[in-house]
Symmetry: C2
Subunit: 342 residues, 2 copies
């Protein structure tokens, strides 16, 4: 079914606007009034115009698309972050392609190495498996911003929460309640588990400051950071006879899993065992008891990630070269709820 190729000019003529305006509509840029957009879209529809966008974008070196690669979409923390990144990107006229790496090193590498480089102008990556060496060896030069604590001093801009300080604050809160046997759920043997390592360091620092002995039997490793892992870790802890009077869980999902095990076995929270999580996901606000947690400023994380990336993308066009990597620390706060004060 051949047809005459309809061009930008034809659309512009029919809509009574400039070719540049049609191009702006087609590219989804925001600086077009709704009325104009409607007119142009009507013309596009009438002529059945199929923009040869890709070719033009390749010429301009831009697609208006950025990728966000997170380990798992159905981890509430990443889902909330994705929503905020999409919202911020939209404000800047950018479309977000969301990628799920499954925390696999191979997949993260594929993403970082410019898989789809032809398609995207920039990449926001939350790595769980890649090492700083992996990223330093990266050949692709698509602008990239990293989220989370996996890779410090890497070759890219980096948005992060001070995990040591936050974990210390959470643990000191439990000590200040008079708790003496404070367990930690979330340690990971994996050498790559940087955020786990940092939170563990903050937990141990707080114990020292509070004059509490470090008892390694109270530190429970997990494989993943899901509810099931927290539930199993808590069960193992109780089964070992090491009943704690407080637990700092390295994320909220672990805490919600641990909470379930505690209640199921008849332990009162916070009466017998006080509980703190990390992430401030919505689930924790509706659990009974509600969950005390470290609340990172997710709005800031998402906003900064998009803004830093857009800045990189603009600089790349101007300078065609790398600029020094920046590390931005985002604020967090301890939100006290029923699981430590009920």
């Amino acid at each position: 079914m051949e047809r005459v190729r309809v061009g930008l000019k034809d659309v512009a003529r029919l809509a009574g606007v400039s070719v540049k305006t049609v191009s702006n509509v087609v590219n989804g840029y925001v600086h077009v009034t709704p009325a104009t957009r409607t007119r142009v879209e009507a013309a596009i529809k009438e002529l059945d115009y199929r923009p040869n966008l890709s070719a033009r974008n390749l010429r301009q070196g831009r697609t208006g698309i950025i990728a966000l690669a997170v380990p798992e979409l159905d981890i509430p923390y990443f889902a909330e972050l994705a929503r905020l990144v999409v919202a911020r990107a939209e404000e800047r006229g950018l479309t977000v392609l969301i990628d799920q790496t499954g925390a696999s090193k191979e997949r993260e590498q594929l993403v970082a190495e410019g898989f789809r480089a032809h398609l995207i102008d920039g990449l926001i990556l939350s790595p769980l498996a890649l090492t700083p060496e992996d990223l330093a060896a990266r050949m692709d030069n698509t602008p990239m911003v990293l989220l989370g604590e996996r890779v410090y001093e890497g070759p890219a801009d980096h948005v992060v929460v001070d995990n040591v300080a936050a974990a210390r604050k959470a643990t000191l809160h439990l000590a200040a309640l008079g708790r003496r046997r404070i367990a930690a759920i979330g340690a990971q043997d994996d050498a790559a588990a940087e955020s786990s390592r940092l939170r563990l360091a903050g937990y141990r620092q707080a114990l020292r400051e509070a004059g509490l002995p470090a008892d390694d039997r109270l530190v429970v490793p997990v494989r993943d950071y899901h509810r099931a892992d927290g539930a199993h870790a808590m069960a193992r802890l109780l089964d070992s006879g090491q009943t704690p009077d407080a637990v700092f869980c390295f994320n909220d999902l672990l805490a919600l899993g641990a909470l379930r095990t505690l209640l199921e076995r008849g332990h009162s929270v916070p009466g017998e065992v006080a509980l703190v999580g990390f992430d401030d996901i919505e689930d924790g606000r509706y659990a009974t008891p509600t969950l005390t947690t470290i609340s990172p400023d997710k709005q800031a994380i998402a906003g900064l990630a998009v803004d830093l990336l857009a800045d990189r993308m603009a600089k790349r066009v101007v300078q065609g070269s790398r600029v020094e990597a920046r590390e931005i620390r985002v604020p967090y706060r301890l939100v006290i709820r029923e699981s430590t004060s009920g």
Copy 2:
């Protein structure tokens, strides 16, 4: 910074494979062995090859990208679905671009009307605001599959759960426990709220069958389907003096919000009030009490959506015309947990 244009042939020569194989790697197709993929990727890196993918894909009329448009990414049901759709698409060598419509009619329309039609080969849309008329008037002919019950008898393939039957089953379960004042949380005034209307119909049908009077004071409308809406609805119900002995909530988030209000106010669940949700999200499996719920086969929903779409995309290439719209019903089951049996 000009450079000589490196072509597919150069990569193929260096990697010692055919041009077709390089193309398969570049397009992210799955039918390439890991060893070959590694070799081709090394050659791509060495030559700093930037595939002129878009132009070639336009020639072929395909990009290998499909879009998934859901109302909100941080609604666990949609996050789980997105994970499953991405996984299934990956198996078929398709990349998923995830779109968040915010349940806005304007945004859904934009998506359905071929916004990014130049970029995507197909679209999976979960509409909340669009009417069947809106979709019938759709001009864009990008293959599309609809999820959910918003639009029946529409112009596109459609994957759906039998909401009336599922809601009936949930309500009959409560009646079978001997509950007599069964409330419903999740009615929506909005004429567009089709899934709400169907679940309400199933609830009423079950009351009739169980010989229970329909008491409209026990039907509580909500604005959205979030935890906060469930919590407020439950509070309104209790404040009105209409304490029920059971509640069917039209999704799990509403049920988790209602559960929070009940426990906060000292009502035992299921002792005084039994509770059933809908969706079977993970949160409900770790709540205390765990949540009885209707569990739609999400794996089947995601798999069918991708398969139907891929089929459409293939047919479009062959026939260049529309095929009759199909409606596929996906199985569901009632999962009984502590909130009705604890």
